[in-house]
């Protein structure tokens, strides 16, 4: 089978499915290993929206990618070849997305990103069938840069892990913060001890610190920072202040400013409905991953109302309309199929026994992304 | 060319404060069996290791076939024809008897880098290996797994591997170790023939074998050679009697 016949086969399947108006969604996400909490939230948010819509014209197959790119590719092959899905979604990590998305969209499938949105897929490697419902990876870092500038800091110290997302992070920050830097460091990916970096921060004469350290790295950094006696204000993207992580950081995080496209106290009806339904169903507060999963499902459902998946062009147009009530408020797609949305500044607070975030400011309004011009679509 | 095949000159080796070998000079001549005897801890293993190349002496030299081999590796000495056997059989137990014998043959022939040809179809190597097995009386066991051999047969195979090297001298470290009197007799008879192929430097505790085989005996005590001579001379030597054979005399 060549690509062409594969496409034809996919088309035939789509036709057959269209007759029953059944949409098959394959969700590849991380359900085991160290990063499982993100995938579990993504899945729960997504399934919550499907459940709340009460529809039976959509089948969702969920599989665990173990946070391994080769497993993700294997699952996507299986979903495309044997389950004959129409839409793929759910990948948390950029490196897994890079492994799966280009070849899936090349085979004519739709890919709706619930989280990962690397620069390659927004710029030269953009594809009409790829939609990021979350953000573009640089967005939160850009917002942190913009916030740092507008808050009047003049000498931030910036650090991120030494891997592509880390490089994108500091580049994104500097795109909107053009002043002097007290220092710029790349740490090792998966590093757990930041004593050396904190000492450098202390010695640098900085007036604030921007850091991007997702997952366990952020937890370690925050705890150690709190112990160090360095009392400079911290700014970071939402990843290190996710609802799940905050409980493990504890008091060390309180007061930290972070940039996010979503917060549980965001004042709109869709969000209020989402937060209360999520808490009721799963017994815990939703995270940004859950919110993005929820929005992705609602976007898909809105497109299904407008067009039949068997007509890819019409379906694509329906997706582009983004005619759904986002928990993030106003939401439209830029021409490279990445969101245009407001990005907020949140502060970590303690509500009773629970650590969570509240919105304090808007860092950027209607932000699209830096790669719109590079995408020829 | 002199009659001396293997000679050590004044070898000294210390481990910390312990002098394991102290000015040891011995020689092995064409056609002879030269036995080295001595109590445990006298430095026999150290001496063998220096002769065969595992240990470098602190001072003194080792000559083999009129070459100074003191600085040569175990491998180089082996390739010159210095064949040793081990006190504890060093055989590939998972392999067949023939494969063990082949190992020596292919080492001697320098064919270990051939990667694609079946070794069992190499008529030259197999010929050498089978001849050696024939010589020690193991030809009928060629296809058996080495692990299934009796202890005595393993001692024989140990000698066969040495034979496949086309040796110019043997260094045998207690070949009789663990053998019963019958096995010991058989192996003694075999070694008695082998001396005409290449002289044997024999380190052995089994005195019956030593007295039956040795043309000369050197007695090593506390790292020094205290006497060298024929069987009768050694038997009669008062120093030896006192230091070593004391209670037996």
């Amino acid at each position: 089978m060549s690509v062409k016949t594969l496409l034809a086969a996919a088309g035939l399947v789509a036709l057959a499915a269209g007759a029953q108006a059944q949409v098959k969604v394959g969700m590849i996400t991380t359900l085991s290993g160290g990063g499982a909490s993100l995938g579990i939230d993504t899945r729960d948010g997504f399934m919550l929206a499907i459940g709340m819509a009460g529809r039976d014209d959509i089948d969702v197959i969920v599989e665990d990618d173990q946070q391994k790119p080769d497993i993700a590719v294997q699952i996507s092959d299986k979903m495309i070849q044997s389950d004959k899905v129409d839409v793929l979604t759910g990948i948390v990590w950029s490196n897994l997305a890079m492994a799966v998305v280009p070849s899936a969209t090349a085979q004519g499938l739709f890919y709706l990103s619930t989280n990962a949105a690397p620069a390659q897929l927004a710029g030269a490697g953009c594809n009409p069938n790829h939609f990021s419902v979350s953000y573009q990876n640089d967005n939160l870092h850009e917002a942190a840069g913009a916030y740092t500038k507008s808050a009047g800091y003049t000498k931030p110290f910036i650090l991120a892990p030494n891997y592509p997302a880390g490089h994108d992070s500091l580049t994104g920050f500097k795109r909107f913060y053009d002043g002097e830097l007290a220092g710029e460091i790349y740490t090792e990916l998966g590093q757990t001890d930041y004593a050396a970096e904190i000492a450098q921060i202390r010695a640098s004469g900085a007036d604030s610190v921007f850091f991007f350290l997702p997952g366990g790295m952020g937890i370690s950094f925050l705890k150690q920072y709190a112990e160090s006696g360095v009392e400079l204000p911290l700014v970071g993207p939402a990843f290190s202040f996710d609802q799940n992580i905050l409980q493990a950081v504890g008091d060390a995080a309180v007061g930290v400013k972070n940039t996010s496209t979503w917060s549980k106290d965001l004042d709109n009806d869709a969000n209020a409905a989402f937060v209360s339904a999520y808490e009721e169903k799963y017994g815990r507060l939703p995270s940004i991953y859950a919110a993005q999963g929820y929005d992705t499902a609602n976007l898909l459902l809105s497109a299904m109302d407008k067009a039949d998946i068997s007509d890819p062009d019409a379906f694509r147009t329906a997706l582009e309309d983004a005619d759904f009530d986002s928990v993030r408020g106003d939401f439209t797609f830029a021409s490279n199929h990445h969101p245009i949305q407001d990005i907020y500044v949140r502060e970590v607070i303690k509500e009773g026994d629970i650590y969570t975030n509240k919105i304090t400011d808007t860092a950027m309004e209607d932000r699209d992304n830096a790669y719109v011009g590079e995408c020829s679509m | 060319m002199t009659d001396d095949v293997l000679v050590t000159h004044d070898i000294t080796k210390s481990f910390g404060a312990l002098r394991a070998n102290d000015g040891v000079s011995i020689d092995l001549k064409r056609g002879e069996v030269h036995a080295i005897i001595g109590p445990n801890g006298a430095g026999k293993s150290t001496l063998i290791a220096q002769i065969c190349g595992g240990l470098a002496p602190d001072s003194g030299t080792v000559h083999f076939l009129d070459h100074d081999v003191t600085a040569e590796t175990v491998r180089a000495r082996a390739r010159m024809g210095l064949a040793r056997t081990f006190q504890i059989s060093a055989l590939a137990m998972e392999d067949t008897v023939l494969q063990n014998a082949l190992l020596g043959a292919l080492g001697a022939a320098g064919r270990s880098w051939r990667m694609m040809r079946n070794v069992l179809k190499d008529t030259y190597l197999c010929g050498e290996a089978l001849a050696a097995l024939e010589r020690v009386g193991l030809a009928d066991q060629a296809a058996a797994r080495t692990a299934e051999l009796s202890h005595g047969q393993r001692r024989q195979l140990e000698v066969a591997v040495a034979l496949t090297l086309q040796p110019r001298a043997f260094v045998m470290d207690e070949p009789m170790a663990g053998l019963g009197s019958e096995g010991s007799k058989q192996l003694t008879a075999l070694l008695d023939e082998l001396r005409w192929q290449a002289p044997i430097l024999l380190v052995e505790h089994d005195m019956d074998a030593v007295f039956a085989l040795a043309d000369r005996i050197s007695v090593l005590v506390y790292g020094r050679i205290i006497a060298t001579g024929t069987v009768d001379e050694i038997r009669a030597d008062p120093v030896v009697r006192e230091a070593y054979l004391g209670e037996e005399a």
């Binding site: 290993g33 160290g34 790349y186 090792e188 757990t192 001890d193 004593a195 202390r202 006696g229 799940n244 | -």
Partner: protein
């Protein structure tokens, strides 16, 4: 770069080193006495951290949490030794590697099964939190200082245990000659269980101590395990002294390499590129240290010479 900064980084290197020592000491003892390579040592580190987080959460006492870490890791170690490990002593290293690899899978996924995928919370107690001012104007976290002191005390304790007690005599005998201790009438299997539990307890304690300033999560042990291997290769198998020196060397090389390499490269290339490339090479620093030691002294600084 000021003298204060360098002094502080040296302290950081020391602190990292003593924590590595707690891991490496157990591994090297277990290898020295039983001849066993234990890949699951990192799992015991994780067990310690999880036990501490659980007990700290329930009681609020950090000391109880540390005790729980020590005890539960030692118990887990003893259990693993009784059920699995003792069948592996007379097997080759290959079987040991596979069996302990299987134990990693069981421990990691089992822990996730019990505790979920979210990182747990474990914080340092109030009486150890905050910075202190050291002579010379160095501001340094009290907790990290306590880690250095505690680590060195444990090293001293181990040394006393091995050189001055009956158990120590047996351990040393076991390292030199395994048949010998049987002949001396020592209960070998009890000794082995004890040594394994001791090593496991040290790993668990390290996990809890480090967990308080890092994140307590599944998979936290394996990166430390691999660093502990590097320590042992450098220090020499079976040598507690080697483990200590090796751990301090690795701790210092890693910390100082991470600081100075990017600074060094900044002299030659633009800062952004220098930090990226510099930290790429800094992450290799300890392995290069290991390679140098291997070339110079294949059995490690204090390993038995062949």
């Amino acid at each position: 770069m000021t003298a204060i900064l360098i002094a502080e980084q040296v302290l950081n290197g020391l602190q990292f080193g003593v924590m590595l020592f707690l891991m490496a000491a157990g591994l090297t003892l277990i290898f020295g006495v039983m001849g066993l390579i234990n890949l699951a040592h990192g799992s015991l580190y994780m067990v310690g951290a999880f036990a501490a987080a659980t007990i700290a959460g329930a009681t609020g006492s950090f000391l109880l949490a540390l005790a729980a870490a020590l005890i539960s890791a030692a118990l887990a170690g003893a259990l693993v030794e009784l059920v699995v490990i003792r069948r592996l002593y007379d097997r080759d290293h290959l079987d040991q590697v596979l069996a302990t690899f299987a134990l990693i899978l069981i421990f990691s996924e089992g822990t996730r099964w019990l505790f979920g995928s979210f990182p747990l919370y474990l914080d340092i107690p109030a009486w150890l939190s905050g910075p202190v001012m050291l002579p010379g104007g160095i501001q340094y976290p009290l907790y990290r200082l306590a880690l250095i002191v505690l680590g060195l005390l444990i090293a001293l304790g181990l040394w006393l245990l091995i050189s001055h007690t009956r158990i120590g005599v047996q351990i040393r005998a076991g390292e030199n000659d395994r048949e010998m201790i049987g002949a001396l009438g020592v209960n070998i299997s009890r000794l082995y269980t004890l040594v394994f539990a001791l090593g496991a307890g040290l790993a668990g304690l390290a996990g809890a101590l480090v967990g308080a300033i890092q994140s307590v999560q599944v998979g936290m042990g394996e990166p430390v395990l691999i660093l502990a291997f590097v320590v042992i290769v450098i220090g020499g198998i079976g040598s507690i002294k080697g483990a200590l020196i090796g751990a301090l060397l690795v701790g210092l090389a890693d910390t100082l390499g991470g600081i100075f390499l990017p600074e060094l490269l900044k002299l030659f290339t633009d800062p952004a590129k220098a930090t990226a490339t510099g930290s790429a090479f800094a992450s290799m620093a300890i392995y290069i240290l290991m390679a140098v030691v291997l070339v110079w002294r294949p059995t490690g600084l204090f390993g038995a010479r062949v």
